[in-house]
């Protein structure tokens, strides 16, 4: 079954209803595939990322105005999991048929109350051919007479979701927007919209965050979560937060800019070109973390001496963090907002810097 967790029934009480898809196995796109389709490798990081997002929703999501309602989850490979309520759940495979069924249930729940929040997360392979397509686990099934049957046309799906009464919608797409040579000759592929809308339909706040802009592959760590997932969780846990009326809030406006920052900083740390493509209409709140967080990025010049330097950071609240000499640079760490003192220490000198930090990020490049 695809209903992983039910916390609140919804109805009169507005809730966040989530639909999480993690596709790692693509058995129809291997060596014996239809030659008109691209060869795409199995992914280890995407099911892990989908699970990480699911766990975050279960354990850390906090919104007193719109608590967690339900989580629909499909994964490939399918697996049995223990949810936060101690129930054993046989999570269904992320085939197109299962995705459609789960989507239908998720839509109905979101449609229940206009103050609901619709939360969609997909991790897997993606293709771009005018529209953005998210591939289900059985994409490329030779039994399908229509080649593009087993994929979501995300461009049309997002537009179609304006039909849903839930006026706050978040879409996180952790997938490439690549256009392999094999699909160049395909004429106007359609995919599955899953839902469509008319000109009479509208939604107040719709936010899309994609792992990579067109033409850049999204990166993942084999056996670990993707960079996009890591960045998203950091942002949700406070890096995208701002303080207002005594509470920390993450809304779509701050989430987008923080996500772009964190992805770029992760790229600098790992030597990769990491980006996020984001777009939103009117901002709306999503999550209320306990505290804000700041992504600290420390580097030093000249670059030839970077690895000689030990980095030490002291926070006004008492926290201490650091990186010994020899570690890679730049160095990154997450701290709460406040005053910090950064020290760059070599065998012959120390360079100190004091400043106040505030989300989302603080970058400092000391000079030896």
């Amino acid at each position: 079954m695809s209903l992983y967790l039910r916390r609140n029934q919804g109805g009169a009480l507005p809730c966040l209803h989530a639909f999480v898809i993690g596709v790692g196995d693509y058995p129809c796109l291997g060596a014996g595939r239809d030659r008109s389709l691209p060869a795409l490798q199995a992914l280890s990081s995407t099911p892990i990322s989908a699970l990480a997002i699911t766990r975050w929703l279960e354990q850390d999501y906090h919104n007193p105005h719109c608590p967690l309602g339900t989580i629909e989850l499909v994964l490939s490979p399918a697996q049995t999991l223990l949810n936060g309520d101690g129930e054993s759940i046989d999570v269904e495979a992320a085939t197109m048929a299962n995705i459609e069924t789960a989507f239908h249930r998720w839509f109905q729940r979101c449609d229940d109350n206009k103050q609901n929040i619709a939360f969609f997360y997909f991790a897997g392979h993606g293709l771009l051919r005018d529209d953005h397509f998210l591939l289900a686990a059985d994409f490329g099934d030779p039994r399908a007479l229509v080649r593009w049957k087993n994929c979501i046309n995300f461009t049309r799906m997002r537009s179609g979701m304006e039909r849903c009464r839930a006026q706050t919608q978040f879409f996180f797409v952790d997938a490439c927007q690549d256009t392999p040579d094999e699909i160049l000759s395909h004429i106007m592929p359609q995919g599955q919209n899953l839902v469509d809308a008319t000109l009479y339909d509208r939604v107040a706040s719709s936010t899309v965050c994609c792992a990579a802009p067109a033409k850049y592959p999204a990166y993942g760590i084999p056996g670990g979560p993707t960079f996009f997932c890591q960045a998203l969780l950091q942002c949700l846990n406070g890096v995208a937060g701002y303080r207002t009326r005594g509470n920390w809030v993450v809304d779509s406006g701050t989430l987008m800019s923080a996500l772009v920052h964190v992805m770029e900083n992760l790229g600098r740390v790992h030597g990769l070109d990491l980006r996020a493509e984001v777009e939103s209409t009117k901002p709306a709140p999503l999550h209320y973390p306990l505290d804000g967080a700041v992504m600290l990025l420390v580097d030093c010049l000249p670059t030839a001496r970077r690895r000689e330097v030990e980095i030490s950071v002291r926070h006004s609240a008492g926290a201490h963090a650091g990186s010994p000499a020899g570690d890679s640079r730049p160095w990154t760490h997450t701290l709460p907002p406040g005053e910090i003192q950064i020290a760059l220490i070599t065998s012959t000198s120390t360079c100190n810097h004091v400043d106040r930090i505030q989300p989302p990020a603080y970058e400092w490049e000391g000079r030896l």
């Binding site: 771009l128 537009s159 106007m188 008319t198 107040a204 033409k215 009117k282 400043d355 505030q358 603080y362």
Partner: protein
Amino acid sequence: MGGPVVSVFIQFGLSANLPPVAVELFSRDMERLDVVSTYSGPPRSLTVPSLPVYARLRFPSGRIGPLREIHDPDFVLSAESMGVDSLKKPKKQAAPKPPSGIKAASPKRLLRKDPAAMQEMMAVPDRPRLVWAQNQPIALANQAVLSTFDMDGIIRRSNDGRTVTLRRSRTANLAREPGQLTVECHSARLRVCLPGNLAHIKVQASESRDGVECVDIAYHTHSGWADALTEYLQNGDFYSAQSMLDATDQSERLLSDKFLDPYGAAVGAYFLLRSGERLAFPIWLRRLADEFPSLPDGAVIWAWYLIRQEQAIDEGLRYLRIAARRGTPVFAEGRRLLIDGLYRAGEAGHEFLRRKPDAAQRVIWASPLTAWREDEAPGGGLAKVSFRLRPAPARD
């Protein structure tokens, strides 16, 4: 809660070289108060519970300046006070001297279209070229070629052949016709719609990365605040983008007779559509649709405003059809809204979708300007060439 309420008037000292930038303001308890713009306007005032307040600059490029503590109720914002020296205009670099024995090219001679001088310049490949030309293919390094560049201006190619720039002078009327740039590399072809208020565009062929040729296209227009707004949105900074529009009624002003810039106005209008704001007097949106037929974006914007704010669906659909007949919107958002609107209109819109000339091409959605690839058959283009298109104001 408690303590006296203090009115703090924060004045933005505008030096001549201060670009449009957003200022994020925090209370003493680090609660976010507001995000305001430094763009032209009267001094801003803000009421806060107490002093000090904190401020930091948020640049369109995504860079965030350091926090600065403000104790003085009459604070003057400047590059120095905000700890961001790079806001100062860089000193002009002296032009390199030509090799000895070769006469230096005089720009004045070229501007008079002196054929002899042009011949002399073209014959010496190592010198920077000042070429006054239209529709003349210009070769770049990495097998990239600018095959079409149908706007007037001064085109310059760098010594190493990696960069071509086009610079256009500012005129009082920025409602000039849009143009198009075509760049070819291997068997990949990129077409980019260019707004009529374009000021500068740079096309750069980069070193291969992982076997991929990179062509980077950076541009800015004569509308600095619209460029800033575009760049803020590209970097996901919605609140800073919103501050650009809050500063003055920029979009409406840009359609007045004195400052005619429909392209800048369109950028602002797209943002208004996104934010869902209902205008008290949307007449200037209608002017954008009716008075600038060479800019299909105007009709797209007015169509969606009618659909969303006025619920005038039939009239909105009529303007979507008008936009489709006028051609491809200059801005990518316009193209997306046009296609989405025609799709959602059902059969009434689908006939226009079928007629869309670029239906089979691959649109680059990450670009703020409408851009698409027309690649040859598999084996040539996509795997080998990467195009990137971005707004890049003069300095940050």
